[in-house]
Symmetry: C2
Subunit: 201 residues, 2 copies
């Protein structure tokens, strides 16, 4: 009986079409002006059908948040694989992180900014752990090869991520769109300082 399978397939397609319409909204007018009504309007269905597929609006945004972390994780892994030395990996990943933030502005804002972090549920985003896992492992490797292998890797990871997020978000507040290449010097400056603090004393 392929009938049941067709049904769940259609359900998946419907869900995807909702997300697609929602994403269209997000990239054209920002996630703040995303509304259930506009989504319903776009897919030419009534409002409550959306609630058959998503518990609420937050669930839709959560979907994008997950997507964002998955994309970030993929990007980081890809970049990491292009190098051998942990220090080089950390530097390359920092630049990739920066590029991701500005190339996928909407994702980044959903993942971090936005003020509706739904702090409780943040830990339940396993895609986030994927991304952080890649960073942590690289930090660990860098520390292992350094002159101070007893260094607290979690502290260093936290520092690494904070520097990256800080640079990105300060830049985002001041300017919209991707900043010019000269602004990347700030990233280079901060991240090389960080790497030195690990590799050598």
């Amino acid at each position: 009986m392929g009938i049941a399978e067709r049904k769940i397939r259609q359900k998946e397609e419907f869900k995807a079409s909702i997300l697609e319409a929602a994403w269209q909204q997000v990239i054209s007018d920002g996630w703040q002006s995303l509304s259930i009504r506009k989504i319903a309007d776009a897919i030419e269905y009534s409002i409550p059908v959306i609630y058959n597929h998503f518990e609420n609006k937050e669930a839709i945004l959560l979907e994008f948040t997950k997507e964002g972390f998955q994309k970030l994780a993929d990007t980081l892994q890809e970049v990491k694989d292009q190098y051998e030395v942990p220090a080089q990996q950390l530097e390359a990943m920092a630049h990739a992180y920066w590029d991701f933030a500005f190339d996928h502005n909407e994702y980044y804002q959903l993942m971090f900014g936005l003020g509706i972090p739904a702090c409780d549920r943040v830990k339940q985003i396993i895609e986030m752990k994927t991304a952080t896992g890649i960073m942590i492992s690289t930090i660990k490797e860098a520390i292992a090869q350094s002159n101070h292998p007893e260094t607290d890797y979690f502290l260093k990871y936290h520092t690494y991520l904070s520097i990256l997020h800080g640079l990105v978000s300060i830049q985002m507040i001041q300017k919209e769109g991707k900043p010019d290449a000269s602004k990347k010097m700030i990233l280079q400056d901060a991240i090389s300082g960080f790497i030195i603090s690990i590799t050598s004393k």
Copy 2:
């Protein structure tokens, strides 16, 4: 004729009472659930009176943002004055920044986070320039006394602020309330690395 003066005084008081009611709302339920209606209810007036004193809701939040930057500037200046050596000043200011962020959580979220930074108007907050001015001048002094007086101070300032904001906001996303003292080691770690990058090669 003290009559005109009384009027503007009353107007000021009214404005202040609006802000007070609003702030009460903010600290009890967060700025996201602040509403004009609740304010009107609290001050026992009808809704439109608020619009006689504030252009819109954003103007009210902007007021708090300014207040926040002013408080931050005051705090930084006060801490800075307790030290002589720029490097020590930078370190102390970093800790003061951290404490401010968590002691005045609501202010900090309005000042940076929140996703409604109203990017256009951000530059018009002169209180922000006051705060950044204090940091920049200290960075300049630190660079002047270093072995590399030709270092780009604006780049270093940007790095300094990014590290601080990054540390704070990452911490805020993961936990609510003030983090335990051990978490401050991360700040210590990052900021001492930064200071070394200025003072010595």
